[in-house]
């Protein structure tokens, strides 16, 4: 395998995993409460900053990640409980604008606490590459990103389809009114959905932080950059997000190698426009989403 192809596959898979991690929370929120969240980036920044300060205080990677993700879990739940549960029944656009406000608020809070500088953490994983085939090899950082993604998707999919809580969440997603009549506590279920979204977004932020050491602003922007991947997979499909994320990641990596890094964002949004025109429900989404 040539060097270029190897670069494309590695970068595509790793970036695709991050998109998928951002997207899974987005889809969980959208299914449970119908809210199109522009605030995923804010949860990512929050998780990354908590993780960085814990690691810098000497905590090891595992516990720090668990604590940071746990913090974002509680915060996500609180956000729904206190604010977004009161916006139930509002137009989709109103709730989306509210998530923009939430994003601005959380971002401002994070910047006031931790400052706008680049988030510095000690190197947690080695850059040493384990070769698989020819030039294709993954460093420990890449493997960490993919392992977290696989674990999150496995847990979320298992939880949704094989546990009573997941059954309730799917019931709410399918028909909230009917779910109430069968005795499901919609408020608790929706709060849980937002908490899960906070947790997965925080993990996405941590994975991104470990790989690149970015500043808070660029993590926040990444939350919006995941929209093409989410739409390609289908707005209400969790496995679709993984597939869409990896496809967008690979497309962007290909463009970065053969055309130039500056074209990455615009190509992703070009794909988004093409999907909107040709197949608005995405690859795995249900057709009725297209009627929104």
């Amino acid at each position: 395998m040539s060097n270029d192809v190897a670069t494309i596959v590695i970068n595509g898979l790793v970036n695709g995993c991050i998109y998928a991690l951002i997207g899974v929370g987005f889809v969980v929120i959208f299914r449970a409460t119908g809210v199109v969240s522009f605030a995923q980036g804010a949860f990512m920044v929050l998780g990354a900053e908590i993780f960085a300060s814990l690691v810098n205080d000497g905590l090891s990677t595992g516990p720090a990640a668990i604590l940071a993700a746990g913090g974002a879990f509680i915060f996500g739940g609180l956000v729904y409980w206190l604010a977004f549960s009161r916006l139930t029944g509002a137009e989709a656009f109103i709730t989306s604008v509210a998530t923009v406000g939430l994003g601005i608020l959380v971002e401002a809070g994070v910047l006031l606490i931790w400052g706008p500088a680049i988030i510095v953490i000690p190197q947690l994983f080695s850059y040493q590459v384990h070769h698989v085939v020819g030039q294709l090899g993954f460093s420990n950082i890449d493997l960490f990103a993919m392992a977290v993604t696989v674990a999150v998707f496995a847990v979320v999919l298992f939880g949704l389809h094989r546990t009573p809580v997941g059954l309730r969440m799917r019931a709410v997603a399918n028909n909230p009114r009917l779910a109430v009549f069968t005795g499901v506590n919609v408020l608790v279920t929706s709060t849980l959905a937002w908490a899960i979204a906070g947790l997965t977004a925080a993990l996405a932020g941590i994975v991104y932080l470990v790989g690149t050491q970015p500043d808070p602003g660029s993590i926040y922007a990444l939350g919006l950059a995941a929209f093409p991947a989410i739409l390609l997979g289908g707005f209400d499909s969790i496995p679709g997000t993984l597939v869409g994320g990896i496809i967008i990641g690979l497309v962007q990596a290909t463009v970065a190698v053969y055309v130039g890094g500056a074209w990455q964002d615009v190509v992703a949004y070009g794909v988004l426009l093409a999907v909107l025109l040709l197949r608005p429900q995405g690859m795995f989404g249900s057709p009725q989403v297209a009627r929104l």
């Binding site: 449970a32 608020l105 006031l112 909107l276």
Partner: protein
């Protein structure tokens, strides 16, 4: 109209039906006001009492005060408020009137700004010409957004306009990268010896443009087009059954608002003097969208209040930090984080308003006004019967 059922959860079946009452009432109120202002001019009393006349008078007084009493800095901020005000009023045309969605006002401003910057250095740079060409280009961009806008609603339209923001921003970056790395310098406009980019003439240009936009829109929203958009916003199917041409009116809203926003971008280019793609970021777009909702969707004054807020809030924080001059740590912290604190306030205010009063600050003001009137009446009533009662008992 109830916003939704008691069931928390998705209300996705009929998104167009759920027009919150708080959002609807200022719109209709404003429409009648505009109708009164333009329709009953013959009646002297109605003319002098109409909100349009009062609004115009207040606007003129404010403009004259800033023009003659304001420092250079005040004039600069006044110009900025007027420019952003044009954009927010045009954004409200999309959200609050036609019930459509657009997340890329900064991108459309960029179209006007780059057009102006480029033309100002060429032979076409005589003052109103770049502004008018920007206006036309903005309309063309509006048509381009409008065509997918005919197919999509809500979420999908939102993503289309988000994509547009990224694509225009990228195109501007490429254009700037190929031609000039540091951005385009705008040649200051002049009429003979009169330098139009000086603070006072530029302020006049911006407030005249805003005045024209406000006057034009209050007429349009109060007339047949306003009723057509109102019907489309509340129920598209019903509107089309009533014989409203959806294609025509939706395209008209996109084209009109984009043209106006691009014209504002042109004025903005003259003001900042150096046009760079980084200025017209997604952040600016989202701020301009948020401002409309904070001020009050579906009104003309609401978006203006939003524009005033976006310009003056950082300055207000500066003033507050001066109050804490006794405590250097507090004032220093406030000054250092002025922009971030302002952002936090916008975010919090937007969330609170969307939860408790979807009509924005305008509706809060109206509510406070009504509350004050009611409290006044209550006080009068509470004092009056007591006197009568004592009289009745002790004849």
């Amino acid at each position: 109209m109830t916003g939704g059922g008691k069931v928390p959860g998705r209300e996705g079946e009929r998104p167009t039906m759920t027009v919150p009452a708080a959002q609807g009432s200022p719109a209709t109120e404003n429409a009648t006001v505009a109708g009164r202002g333009s329709g009953d001019v013959g009646d002297d009393q109605a003319f002098w009492r109409s909100k349009t006349t009062i609004g115009a008078a207040v606007y003129l007084v404010a403009v004259v005060a800033v023009l003659f009493g304001g420092s250079q800095f005040t004039l600069y901020e006044g110009t900025l408020i007027a420019t952003y005000g044009i954009v927010t009023v045009a954004q409200d045309w999309i959200f609050g009137r036609a019930g459509l969605v657009s997340l890329g006002p900064a991108a459309i401003m960029a179209v006007g700004a780059f057009t102006t910057a480029r033309l100002s250095t060429e032979g076409w740079g005589v003052f109103p010409v770049p502004l008018l060409i920007s206006f036309v280009f903005g309309g063309v961009i509006g048509l381009l957004i409008g065509i997918p806008g005919l197919r999509f609603r809500g979420l999908y339209l939102m993503l289309t306009t988000l994509a547009l923001q990224f694509i225009i921003s990228f195109a501007a970056e490429q254009y700037q990268g190929v031609n000039r790395e540091a951005g385009f310098t705008v040649t200051p406009p002049s009429w003979g010896s009169l330098q139009l980019a000086n603070p006072q003439p530029l302020f006049l240009i911006s407030v005249i443009l805003l005045g024209l936009v406000l006057l034009g829109l209050s007429g349009i929203h109060g007339g047949a087009p306003g009723r057509a958009w109102n019907a489309i916003r509340q129920n598209e199917t019903a509107a089309s059954v009533l014989g409203i041409n959806l294609v025509r009116w939706k395209l008209a809203a996109f084209i009109g608002s984009s043209a106006v926003i691009a014209a504002a971008g042109s004025v903005y280019a003259y003001q900042i003097g150096q046009v760079q793609y980084t200025t017209f970021s997604l952040d600016l777009s989202l701020t301009l969208v948020v401002m409309v909702f904070i001020g009050g969707v579906g009104t003309l004054i609401g978006p203006i209040i939003g524009a005033v807020g976006v310009v003056l809030l950082p300055q207000g924080i500066q003033e507050i930090s001066n109050l804490f001059s006794g405590m250097p740590s507090v004032s220093g912290w406030l000054q250092l984080n002025e922009g971030i604190v302002a952002d936090g306030i916008y975010g919090l205010l937007l969330l609170l308003l969307l939860i408790f009063e979807r009509g924005g600050l305008v509706a809060v003001g109206q509510r406070l006004g009504r509350g004050a009137v009611a409290a006044g009446r209550l006080a009068v009533r509470a004092s009056a019967p007591r006197i009568r009662r004592t009289n009745a008992r002790n004849p």
